[in-house]
Amino acid sequence: MNYIASIGSYAIMVKEVFKKPTKWGIMKSLILKEIDELIYGSLGILIFISFFIGGVVAIQTALNITSEIIPKYLVGFATRQSIILEFAPTFCSIIMAGKVGSYITSSIGTMRVTEQIDALEVMGVNALNYLVFPKIIAMLFYPFIIAIAMYVGILGGWVAGVFGGFSTSADFVEGLQLDFNTFHVTYSFIKTLVFAFILATIPSFHGFYMKGGALEVGKAATTSFVWTSVVIIILNYILTQLLLG
């Protein structure tokens, strides 16, 4: 019953976010600040993880090719498919649920605990629009860093495959180009955009409606990470079935 109530409250929150907009001059600077914090601030960790995961995918694929019949270009092919279809949009979003999600929940939760949200509401400011809307807009740029994660992940696979002696550069590149379906990239970006909305709104929901003190801020950040991940995993399944099934 509580879950249904929470889903209802979440839907009401999303509706409220788009009501009574804050002045554009102020909103513009808030959006730029959030792009810096949520997108630019996440670039480093995503590049780092993508590079090494791409390398691991290439090595594991190569080590599992035991038959002579299986062509060596499969290493590049498998790396490309894994990175574009799943790793970059989904795995990166789970990482972002931890990094960006806990930041959003704890920052909004702290504002709730210290009555800063009450202060906004007393002034007549739509606190949800002021706090959550810039995050949603900033997260529209999320596909850009996922595109970079895709590139770096495949680069990591190439470096590990070629310099680790698992594949030649020519075989790897041939695998990358083999049967390339551009819709897979479109599918990946559609997922990324949906996950971006989830990453901005579910942690905001947990922060905005939290009750209690500093300890509860920590608990809310943990709960927010769990629920954001769960929703991303479920939506990943549904979107895959709808778009590729």
Partner: protein, 255 residues
């Protein structure tokens, strides 16, 4: 003037406010006092529109809050200033940014007009060299003064303060009390202060409402509180030996 008529508010099974009726006068410092858990904060949050009472009405200069549309309620809130117990300053903004915030949000003033207004109110609360400091870099007393400056920057009709001198040393507490009283009289504001500080009661309590277990137990002025026979009020206000002696001396002087 704010008129409160028979408001009730509960959270789950807990009835926090049980039918409070009173009125808060314009140009006066109205104090709500009572023990912790008596419903003071919930009452002031109902006055601010942050909590909706289940029963009863609150009217601001004749306008009943619950009968106003959403946008009218937001417009009314822009006429309110609030000083929160913990100051509730925005951590990410400087002192100047905090005070400037309502002007940027709700007015079409030019940059220089806003700057003049910010300088004026910061000077009014005796904060001159703190413009570019962040809330974490200033003392509790200064934070309270910034909160007061932010609350009055829009020339509010109603000023609410939730325990404005809690956590402050006695000297700073008196300064804050006096500042609120001066501002109330200077701008003819309806000020409602939530307090359990007895110095505030004696110094600036032009009208005092005593709450006990969500009920208005007593109402009067800081002069009348010396003479009251209400046991709950005397037990609360004169709980310390010092205040008992002060009251005794006051009554002896009068006789």
């Amino acid at each position: 003037m704010i008129e409160v008529d028979n408001i009730h508010k509960s959270f789950g099974d807990a009835n926090v406010l049980k039918g409070i009726s009173t009125c808060f006068d314009k140009g006066k410092t109205n104090l709500i006092i009572g023990q912790s858990g008596s419903g003071k904060t919930v009452f002031i949050k109902c006055l601010l529109g942050l909590f909706a009472p289940e029963k009863g009405t609150i009217s601001y200069d004749g306008k009943i809050y619950s009968e106003l549309s959403g946008s009218e309620q937001r417009n009314l809130r822009q006429e309110m200033g609030m000083v929160f117990q913990g100051s509730a300053l925005f951590d990410s903004m400087t002192v100047e940014g905090n005070v400037r915030f309502p002007l940027e949000m709700f007015t079409k003033q030019s940059d220089s007009e806003m700057q003049d207004r910010v300088d004026f109110v910061l000077k009014r609360v005796n904060l001159i060299d703190a413009h570019h400091k962040y809330p974490s870099e200033i003392s509790g007393g200064m934070q309270k003064r910034v909160a007061i400056a932010r609350a009055i920057v829009m020339n509010p009709k109603y000023l609410f303060c939730d325990e404005p001198n809690s956590g402050l040393d006695p000297k700073t507490a008196i300064l804050i009390d006096n500042l609120i009283q001066e501002i109330t009289q200077e701008y003819n504001i309806t000020t409602v202060i939530n307090s359990h500080d007895m110095n505030s009661v004696m110094e600036i309590g032009e009208k005092i409402i005593f709450l006990k277990n969500g009920i208005k137990e007593w109402e009067g002025t800081n002069k009348e509180i010396f003479k009251t026979d209400n046991e709950a009020v005397t037990n609360f206000v004169y709980s310390s030996e010092l205040f008992k002696k002060v009251r005794q001396m006051y009554l002896e002087e009068r006789n």
